[in-house]
Structures are given as C-alpha cells and as structure tokens.
C-alpha cells in the first residue's frame, strides 16, 4: 500500500514536471498572432491575392472616422482644429501612426518644404498659361488686395513666393473628392451638431495591436486638448471594430471561461465528493492543452489568438474522458481495469473526432489548420493519458456515486420510460421543412462577417461614411504594370473614361495616385512650359505695370520657377518620409515584383456601366467587384471544406462500423449525431443565422460529443448498474459541456453567441436522441452493484 502510494507520488511528480517543461518551452517559443486573415481562405490566383491584401490594407479599410459631439458647434470646430494639429504634431515626433488626418480645414499645411518647387510640376499652372503677362496682371491685382486684408502679415511671404496660389490649389485638390458640409471652417454632419474628422492609420485594419495603439493615441490626444469642454470623441471604422471585437472576445471569453471552470469544478465536486479526484482529473485536460499548444507552436511558430480562445473551448470535451473513467468504475474495481474496459468506446470517440477535425486540416485556411492540429493533438493526449496515466494516480478504493439515492431513482425512472423512435422521425421532418422554407441564406458569403460587428455600430459607421463621402469599398479599378511610372501613365490614360463616367453619374467621384502624382509625361510637359528667367521677368514687369510692387518683390517666386525648371519629375520614391508617402502608397504599390495602381470610387450608381467601361481596356486593367470576388472565394473554399467534411464523415462511419462490427449497432450510434446536426442547422436557420466557418467547426464539435455519448450508451453491458454508471458519466459530461456553451450563448459577441447556441442545442439534442436510440435495452432493472 505504502509502495503504491510512493509510486503514485512519483508518477504525479514526473507528470507535473513534464507539463512544466512543456509549459516553459511554449512560453518561450510561442508568439500570438492577430492577423484575422489567417482565418480567411487562401488565395488561388492573383485577383484573390489582391482581394485578401486589400481587405485589411486598402485606404478605405484603414480609415478611422472620428465624431466629436456634445458641445456648442463653435467649440466643437475649435476642438476639431486642435485635435488635427495635435495629431500632426504627434505624427512628426514619432513613427507616423496616421497617414492622413483631415477635418475639412483648408489651412492645414500639407506640402513639405522640400517638395515646394515641385508644385509647378504637380499643378497645371504652366500649361494653363498662368505665367503669361495678362494672367499675371489679374493675379497680382488680387494679391495686392490680399496685402490689404487683415491677414496680410501672415500671407505676405506666400504672396511673394507663390502669387498664383498653387500651394492652395494643391491643398484643395488633395482634399477628399466629396465632402460633408463645412461649419466654422471644418466638417460637420448634416445636423450640424457633430464635427467630423478622418484619420487614416498606417496600420492595416486587421492588426488589432497597432490599431489599438492608434486609437489610444486618438483618445489620449483628444483628452489633452479637450480642456473643460463637455465634448466626447467617437471612433469608428474597420480598425476600431477589430480592436473592439478583440477586447470584447477576450474579455467575455475569459470571464465566461472562469465562470464555466468554477461551475464545472463545483459540479465534479458534487458528483464525486472528493477534491483529490477532481484535481487529478484535470491533468489530462491540462496535458491536452499544453501538448496541443506545443504542437501548433512547433508546426506554425505563431498561434492566432482565435485559435487559442476557440481551441480551448473545443478541447473542453477532453474533460469528458476522466469523467467516464471515474463514473464507470465498478465498486472495488481497479482504476486501470476500468480504463481498459471503457477504452474501446473512448478511443473510437477520440478517433472519430480527430477524423472530423482532420477535415479542417486540409481546408486551406491556416487558422483552421492550427485549430485542427491543436484539437487533434490535444484530444489524443487527453485520451491516452486518461487510459494509461490517470488510472495509476487514483486511490485504490472507489465509491459508486451513481448508486446513491437521488441519482439511482433518476436512473430507474429513466430506465422505465418508453423509448419511441417516432420523435426522431418527426424532428427530421420538421427540420428538413424548416431548412427548406427558411428565408435566411444557408451560407454566410460575406468575408467581412468573419468576426461580425454588432449591427448598431455598423449602422453608425455606414452613416458616418456616407457623410464623409468615404470611398465605396466594393468596386476598384486595378491597373497592373511593370513599373510605377508605367502604372501612373496607364492610370492617366483612363482619366477621360473616368471623367465621362462622372458626367454620366455612373460614379459620384474617383480617386487615384495621379491626383497626387501626375505621370512623368504630364510633369515633363508642365516643366517644359515653365518660362525661363528672362521671360518670367519680362512678364512680371509687364504685369506689374502701375501696381506698386517693388522690382524684387517676387524674387522667391522666380527662384522656385527656376528651381522647378531643373527638376526631374517627382516619383513615388521622392515622397519617402512625407505625409504623402503612405497616402499615395495606398493607391500605388509594388506587389510580387509588379506595380499596382488602384482607383477608388465614390457611390457607384451603375456597376454594370462601370465594369463595361473598362471591359476592352486590356488585360492589365480591370474593375474588381470585391464583394463578388470574395463571395466566390468563400463559396469555393466552403465547398472544399464541406467535401472534406463529407469524406471525413464517411471515413468516420466506416471506422465506427468496423469497430462495432455491426451495421445496426453503427446506425444506433450514428443516428443521434446525424439527426442532431440537421436539427441544429434548422435551429440556426430559424434564428436567422447563416452558416460560416465557425459554425461548421461548432457543428463538428457537437457531433463529436454526441458520438461519444452514443458510443458509451451503446457500449455498456445490459447490466443495470453498468447502465446507471454510464448514465451518470454521460449526464455529467452533458451538464459540464452545457454549462460552457450556454454561457457562451449568452455572450454579446455574435460569433461566440452563435457557437454557443450551436453546441448547446447540439449537445442537448444529441443526449436526448442517444437516450432514445443508442441506449441498450437492458434486462429488467435490478439493484445489484
């Protein structure tokens, strides 16, 4: 006795040490990824690759919309101006968090000093004849008047340097194509009670940590300038949502995880009345989690946060294995003997669940593959530790808790109930009817619904976007070329078509890199049209006429023109380190050694006309319908997953038929699971939920759990006490799983909620059907143990 106690202590120590070593290794090696695209399908062609990249990185998706409200409009306008300049200041001091901050205020500097002479290559001043004597005379008369204005002091040096006001023209040209109304000099919404700004982040939308940093900067800066104002700042946009969802998911997942853990611990204590058993019973689950993590770490290096959160939820079913071991133990039976006795249904369950998850391994979605590795490795670990290690840690004496008063009576009552098959038939019929007549689309095709954002936030975002005239993210004109200048030139050649589309009201506006960076040819034409020093001096002398300008008043203007005549056309490389770099970089970039130019549109009113206008433009020019392309991608991917799941199901049935060596027994085991899957899909449909990737995973989880219940019910001998013990085990498994997923179903995060509902419904239905169908019809109940 003493020796076995020592052996148990040694085994426990070794086990814990092994887990600790694994834990330390994981802690040192594992990095947690946050790019949600890990959960998106893999692209199979250039268009899909472009699409996936754009989803998180297009200028539209990186745009945060800021609303300042809750004070007098004049005060709000002032806050808007102060916030914008404080953010500019912040951008200058640190690696720029924002590639663009705009609030409708036209005064804000947007051209760096170094690039000032380039203005004569960027605007059409020279080619529109702004430097002819006649045009200059009109211009200079206006400037003379400007010098008498109250702002003369501030503008004098600009009158001297830039009399034709090209900098102002550039600043205005670079404002968004469509604008909300301006009150007190800045953007306001239609009601005039909310000041609006946009901030384009340098970080991709699907980079929650950097998005969170950018949003924190916004909030902190706003607090600093707010003073005693009652105004508040609201931030909206894909990046803000990503941050919000991540906070909510991790917050709710961990608070619910804690509640569920406490609930399960309490349940197990109530069931077994022995805290040592409960504690030791956690070891397989702990081992499963660590081995699963280690496997994913070794295979992928980084693990996505969602894999972790979701994987632990899936792995919760590993807790069922120790429950089976504890509950199935006959009085006086050695734990190792119990483990050997229940091994067959248990390993069949583990194997079938693993087969189901392997379908996700080949699905071509990295996040799902991680999830599959994690779960398969974890479940195998939990199964084998429950079989070979856990029994050796258990005390020799065992109590049959299922024989105690209340539970025994419950078991007896259940045993006496009739077991009709017709409810299953009715369930099948009702479910098929519900799915067939439901108006909810069966499948979710929207890639962006991956982590669905609460509807009210989306509505506000849509409203803000409409006010700000932010680009429509659905249609893009994409132009490929061998170099940046080639793409710019090709983009410029489309200007005539774009402008005719604008005239015909097919679109309300468009934007591309040529707005900031005209093509080489255009810049050269403008440069060559600039007057030489003598010509300009003559024109100036002529224009000045009787105007009281001093002879050398426009020296800095002449110097800039002379400098501009020597310039090479501005290239995207020259923009490095300026606010324009990232702005233009979002619309003109190199990808896989080719250059890509993107034209965005405002309010596409006639998509067919837009697509048709560029139909014959050549193979390097195409209008991409991001929505359709993404739906095709999702549908194709899902088809692939469903096919894999289908093959996995067949394989799984074969395994079960082979293990049970009887078709009728196999059907008794499989029917509850198959009917339940159908019922769950019907429930989701009736609730208005379309199926996405996570629902498929949740359905697979519920099916795996149901299979376990059925296998154990089916496996148990006809002995009444064995049957009672099985009922005890399965009921405990059902109760603990239910607790987890009912809590999840109460989440405010839609994706967690629908997973919770899926599994909770699945588990309940599986259990009831397994009671009806899978349980052996035993001998009349006797009270022997």
């Amino acid at each position: 006795m003493d020796r076995t106690l020592k052996q148990r202590a040694l085994l426990l120590t070794l086990w814990l040490v092994a887990l600790a070593i694994l834990g330390v290794w994981i802690q040192r090696t594992l990095t947690i990824g946050t790019d949600l695209r890990l959960f998106m399908p893999q692209a199979s062609n250039a268009e899909e690759r472009f699409l996936l990249q754009e989803i998180g990185e297009s200028p539209g998706s990186r745009l945060l919309l800021l609303a300042v409200r809750g004070d007098e409009p004049t005060r709000l306008a002032q806050l808007s101006i102060e916030l914008a300049s404080a953010l500019d200041e912040h951008n200058r001091q640190q690696p720029a968090a924002f590639t663009l901050v705009a609030n409708g205020d036209t005064d804000r500097d947007s051209i760096p000093e170094r690039l000032l002479p380039y203005r004569y290559l960027l605007t059409d001043a020279a080619t529109r004849g702004a430097f002819d004597a006649k045009a200059l005379r009109e211009t200079l008369t206006e400037r003379l008047r400007d010098l008498t204005s109250p702002a003369a002091g501030a503008i004098e040096q600009w009158v001297a340097r830039d009399p034709t006001l090209e900098t102002l023209q550039l600043a205005e040209a670079w404002l968004p194509a469509q604008e909300p109304q301006r009150l007190h000099g800045v953007w306001f919404d239609a009601t005039g009670r909310t000041a609006m700004l946009v901030a384009e982040t340098a970080a991709a939308a699907f980079d929650p940590p950097r998005q969170a940093a950018a949003i924190a900067t916004l909030e902190r800066t706003f607090e600093q300038i707010r003073g005693n104002s009652t105004a508040s700042l609201t931030v909206s946009g894909p990046g803000a949502f990503a941050v919000l969802m991540q906070r909510r998911v991790s917050g709710e997942a961990s608070s619910r995880g804690l509640l569920a853990s406490m609930g399960i611990a309490l349940l197990l204590l109530l069931a077994y009345r022995d805290w040592r058993v409960v504690l030791v019973g956690l070891l397989p689950l702990l081992s499963a989690a660590l081995v699963g993590l280690a496997t994913v770490t070794a295979a992928f290096g980084t693990v996505h946060g969602i894999t972790l959160a979701f994987g632990f939820t899936l792995l919760g079913m590993a807790q069922d294995y120790p429950i089976h071991l504890f509950s199935h133990r006959r009085p006086g039976e050695a734990a190792t003997a119990t483990a050997r006795r229940i091994w067959r249904p248990m390993i069949t369950g583990v194997a079938s669940t693993c087969i189901a998850y392997l379908a996700f391994l080949v699905a071509g979605v990295t996040g799902l593959a991680q999830l599959a590795w994690f779960t398969v490795a974890g479940l195998l670990t939990a199964g084998f530790t429950t079989r070979y290690l856990l029994p050796r840690l258990l005390p020799a004496d065992a109590h049959d808790r299922s024989a105690q008063g209340g539970f025994a009576r419950l078991a007896q009552w259940l045993h006496g109930l009739p077991r009709p098959v017709w409810p299953a038939v009715i369930l099948v019929l009702v479910s098929v009817g519900a799915v067939a007549t439901s108006r909810t689309p069966l499948w979710e095709n929207d890639l962006s619904k991956l982590t669905p954002v609460p509807a009210e936030l989306l509505r506000e975002d849509t409203a803000l976007r409409r006010e700000l005239g932010a680009p429509d993210v659905r249609y893009l004109l994409v132009i490929h070329g061998s170099s940046a200048p080639a793409v710019l030139a090709a983009t410029e050649r489309q200007t005539a078509i774009l402008e005719s589309l604008l005239r015909d009201q097919v679109i309300a506006g468009f934007d591309n890199a040529t707005r900031y960076l005209p093509s080489r040819a255009v810049q050269l034409a403008r440069r060559d049209a600039l007057p030489d020093a003598a010509t300009l001096q003559a024109a100036l002398a002529n224009a000045t006429g009787e105007l009281p300008f001093a002879r050398d008043a426009f020296q800095s203007f002449e110097a800039d023109i002379a400098a501009a005549r020597q310039l090479l056309p501005l290239t995207i490389a020259d923009l490095a380190g300026t606010p324009l770099e990232l702005r233009v970089g979002g619309m003109l970039f190199e990808r896989e050694s080719r250059w890509v130019g993107v034209t965005t549109f405002n309010q596409v009113r006639d998509p067919a006309a837009l697509i048709g206008a560029f139909a014959g433009a050549g193979e390097d020019i195409a209008v991409i319908d991001m929505k359709r392309a993404s739906e095709t991608l999702v549908a194709r991917q899902r088809g692939h997953i469903i096919k894999s799941l289908g093959i996995a199901s067949l394989l799984l049935m074969l395994v079960i038929a082979f293990t049970l060596r009887s078709t009728s027994r196999a059907w008794r085991v499989l029917t509850p699971m198959l009917v339940t899957t159908l019922v769950t899909v019907a429930v989701l449909q009736v609730a208005g939920i379309s199926l996405g990737l996570f629902h498929l995973v949740a359905l697979a989880l519920a099916a795996g759990l149901g299979l376990d219940y059925a296998l154990f019910f089916e496996h148990t001998s006809t002995d009444a006490s064995d049957q009672r013990r099985t009922l005890h085990a399965v009921l405990l498994c059902v109760a603990s799983t239910w607790l987890v997923f009912v809590l999840l179903a109460s989440s405010s995060v839609p994706v967690l909620r629908s997973i919770g509902v899926t599994v909770a419904v699945g588990v309940a239905c599986n259990f009831l059907l397994a009671l009806l169908i899978s349980r052996r019809r035993g001998s009349p109940l006797n009270t022997t143990r």
Partner: protein, 199 residues
C-alpha cells in the same frame, strides 16, 4: 451708430488703466477707418477705406468700400473674407498679426484694462492732449511675429493704431476724424506718424 465721445478728461497726465477705461464704447459700435499697408514688397502703401463694426456678441466686421469691396467677418477664431462673392476662410491662429490686433482692439473698445495687461506689456506716454500707448505681446508666439502695436490719440479719442511686424512691414489704421482725412500724395511712415501725433 457713431462712436459717441465721452466727457473730456482733465488735461494732465493719465495712467493707462484710467485711459483704457475711458476708451470704452457701448456695443454695438461702428467707426469709419482708413488703413495703410506698408510692405517691403511695395513701393508705396496701399490704402483702403471702410467701416469697422463690433457686434454685441464680439463679432467683428471690417467692410472695405474703397478701392474695392471686401467684407471680413471675424467670429471667435474664424476669419471669413468675402471679395467679389469669392469666400476664403481660415482660423485666427493662422494669422498671429490679426490675432494680436484683434485682442488689443477688443480690450480697448471694451475698456478692459486688465485684459489688455494680460495680453500685452503696456507703456503709456504723453498726456490728455496727446498720448501714445505702446503694446508688446506677452505671448511668445505672437511676439515672434509682432514688434509692437502703437495706439495714439487725444483725450478719450483714439486716432491711429499702428501694427509693426517683425520684418519691415506695418499697417496703420486711422480712426475717427482721421478716417476721412485726405492724405498727402506720397505718404510715408514718418509723415503718417506726424498725422497720428495730431499735427
């Protein structure tokens, strides 16, 4: 709506607080002006004439009538310039010269000596027959751009408001009776100083 002249004060030396208090005008107030802009860019000053109005809520309107028509509205921190139907606007912070001038002007019209002292170092010379109030901005941002604002006048009547910027440009605002005075053909800063001093 002409600015009424308060009772004459004793013809001896005054302190700035007393003087500023006497300069106060009831709102709304309106006064004609002519303004001369001297600049290194110009061979001779440009002259504009019009009316300045201050509304009860502090909004300032500068209506230029000659030699062209232009209206400037300054409301809190926004400046709106309307010329030939073309509007341009900017925030006051963008034009420190205007910001300082406006602060001084508002304090004087309001008779707000404490407000004036808060924004400027104030120095007063002369007596009731002729005084010079020089103001230098305390705010370093404004001081970088503005050398001084010089207000000259007699009794409770300001005559000229001269803003000299950090360079060699300046604008001179002629108020009250000087607003309609014919100026000599080739007016210079010196000849104008003499006019402002009351000669």
């Amino acid at each position: 709506m002409a600015i009424s002249t308060p009772p004459s004060i004793a013809a001896d030396a005054v302190d700035s607080a007393t003087l500023v208090a006497r300069l106060a005008r009831p709102l709304p107030a309106a006064t004609p002006f002519q303004e001369l802009r001297f600049s290194t860019m110009l061979t001779e000053p440009v002259v504009v004439r019009g009316v300045l109005e201050i509304a009860v809520n502090g909004q300032l309107l500068r209506r230029v009538a000659q030699p062209f028509v232009e209206t400037t509205t300054i409301n809190r921190n926004r400046v709106l310039i309307d010329r030939d139907g073309k509007q341009r606007q900017f925030s006051l912070q963008r034009a420190p010269e205007l910001e300082a001038l406006l602060a001084a002007f508002r304090a004087l019209v309001g008779g707000d000596s404490a407000g004036l002292e808060a924004g400027f170092n104030v120095r007063l010379e002369g007596d009731d027959r002729g005084w010079r109030l020089s103001l230098t901005p305390r705010n370093p941002r404004l001081a970088r751009r503005i050398k001084s604002i010089l207000v000259t006048g007699a009794a409770a009547e300001p005559h000229c408001l001269t803003l000299a910027d950090a360079g060699r440009s300046a604008s001179v605002l002629l108020l009250g009776t000087l607003a309609t005075r014919e100026l000599p053909q080739r007016v210079t800063r010196d000849s104008l100083d003499a006019i402002c001093a009351g000669s």
